[in-house]
């Protein structure tokens, strides 16, 4: 009895070892029928295609090619195509590729090809309705993509503003969408983005003065009337913008962006409001003489697409005739999708 058990154990271990032995035949295809079988054998390689396996749209492909024009096959060049084949069995064992099938008339056919394992070779085999393999974009390759990018919200403060302007950064807001529609060039870790976006900007003062456009088109600060309260005055601008941003993928989901943004300031007005008694008054002045084109400097740092931005507008916001020179600086959050 012990002998039987030992033998059983020995057989079990042997079978386990044999299961890992790679010298066993490798069945590449075992199908009942197929629409057609195309076989092509040359000194440089062997190619087999079996279309319509088991009445499905699946196809089988086998390619064995030598990479450096070496010979992997000493046999003759052969090509054949057989339709409505049955009992297809394609097997490799050691260095022999064996193709067995029955033709339309039911005759058993086979081809054996001895493959030489040349040092440089490629073996591809797959079953399916499409292609097979991985394609890596080469790091040296440049790609182009239509994108939308950079939604940001921040706070604005004037730079170089005259004293007493009283702009409150907490109430002066900026919304911008860097590129509603843009084009981005990618070259490895480097990106270049340009497109068309929008920006809304407000500069709100909490002083007791309001901005007033005089007849000579200059803008001065005029005190609100006495016995009024809840004063508010500010500049509100809208711009179409064209960013030209360089982006660097710093790895680990960090992205740094920097570059100029050209603003086409299509709209601007002054809006002021106050309360006299319980009545709220609001007046707006348009055509305030904003500069039609300004250029800002922009930089942002994001992690997983969310981060901080800074934007500096060194150019005067208003024309010289306004006699109120100031630029702006803004900072806030950006979502760099």
């Amino acid at each position: 009895m012990k002998r039987i058990i030992l033998l059983a154990l020995f057989a079990l271990m042997t079978s386990a070892l044999l299961a890992q032995n790679q010298a066993e035949p490798d069945t590449l295809l075992n199908a009942k029928n197929a629409k057609e079988l195309i076989f092509s054998s040359m000194p440089g390689g062997v190619e087999i295609t079996v279309n319509g396996i088991d009445s499905t749209s699946n196809n089988f492909h086998y390619n064995y090619f030598s990479s450096n024009n070496g010979k992997i096959n000493d046999g003759d060049t052969e090509y054949f195509r057989s339709t409505k084949v049955k009992d297809i069995l394609i097997v490799t064992a050691d260095s022999v590729l064996s193709v067995n099938y029955r033709d339309e008339a039911g005759n058993a056919e086979y081809r054996n090809v001895v493959l030489k394992n040349t040092p440089d070779r490629q073996v591809r085999t797959w079953t399916g309705s499409g292609s097979f393999g991985l394609e890596f974009a080469r790091s040296g390759r440049t790609s182009w993509e239509i994108v939308t990018s950079g939604l940001s919200f921040g706070f604005v403060t004037p730079t170089g503003a005259p004293k007493g302007m009283g702009i409150d950064m907490g109430r002066s807001l900026e919304w911008s969408w860097n590129a509603i529609l843009g084009i981005e060039m990618t070259h490895g870790r480097h990106h270049l983005l340009t497109g068309l976006g929008v920006r809304f900007k407000s500069l709100v003062s909490n002083s007791n003065h309001y901005f007033f456009k005089n007849d000579d088109k200059s803008i001065t600060m005029v005190p609100f009337e006495e016995n009024t309260r809840d004063h508010k005055t500010g500049f509100y601008t809208f711009a179409l913008q064209v960013p030209v941003l360089y982006k660097l993928d710093m790895g680990r989901s960090w992205l740094f962006s920097v570059g100029p943004i050209v603003n086409f300031n299509t709209g601007a007005h002054i809006s002021s409001e106050y309360k006299a008694g319980d009545v709220k008054h609001k007046f707006t002045t348009s055509k305030i003489g904003q500069r039609p084109v300004t250029v800002d400097g922009y930089a942002s740092m994001t992690f997983h697409g969310i981060g901080l931005y800074v934007r500096y507008s060194p150019m005067k916001m208003l024309r010289d005739r306004a006699n109120l020179d100031f630029g702006t600086f803004s900072t806030g959050l950006v979502v760099a999708f």
Partner: protein
């Protein structure tokens, strides 16, 4: 006698379950952790899903190409026998590239990616990546490029 029968059944089950596993999985589990060139990372669950929603498991093995190339090549070849698709390339008689897809028949698919000469010339590394889940080939390439750096 009953005890021996139980042992035999357990042995049989061990052999069966071992044969169902991937051969390349033998590179993981700290087998080669004494080698300073080796790094291995296995990511499962939510962390794998954070890389890609379709992923259930990612395993990455990096090690000296001279030492580990022949070992991994042998295991990759063994797994290729179960594959629904394979692309294996040899350079100078050595496996230089392999990409294998094992169809899970509606359950998890397994993709094995191997490069025998990853890294800089001064530090040739063998890179083995196993992805389990459902991903397009394009997405696999992106994930492999990202985690293989």
């Amino acid at each position: 006698m009953r005890r021996i029968t139980v042992i035999l059944i357990l042995l049989f089950l061990t052999v069966v379950s071992a044969s169902a596993q991937l051969n390349v999985d033998r590179m993981f589990g700290g087998t080669y952790c004494n080698d300073p060139s080796v790094s291995e990372v296995v990511i499962t669950g939510a962390q794998a899903k954070a890389i890609d929603k379709g992923l259930t498991r990612v395993a990455v093995f990096k090690g000296n190409a001279v030492r580990f190339g022949p070992i991994i090549s042998k295991l990759v070849n063994a797994d290729a026998r179960k594959a629904s698709g394979r692309d294996i390339r040899y350079t100078g008689g050595k496996m230089s590239y392999a990409y294998i897809a094992i169809d899970g028949q509606g359950r998890k698919n397994t993709y094995i990616y191997y490069v025998g000469d990853a890294g800089k010339a001064s530090d040739r590394r063998a890179l083995l990546v196993i992805l389990e889940g459902t991903l397009s080939a394009k997405r696999q390439a992106q994930v492999i490029r990202k985690i293989g750096k």
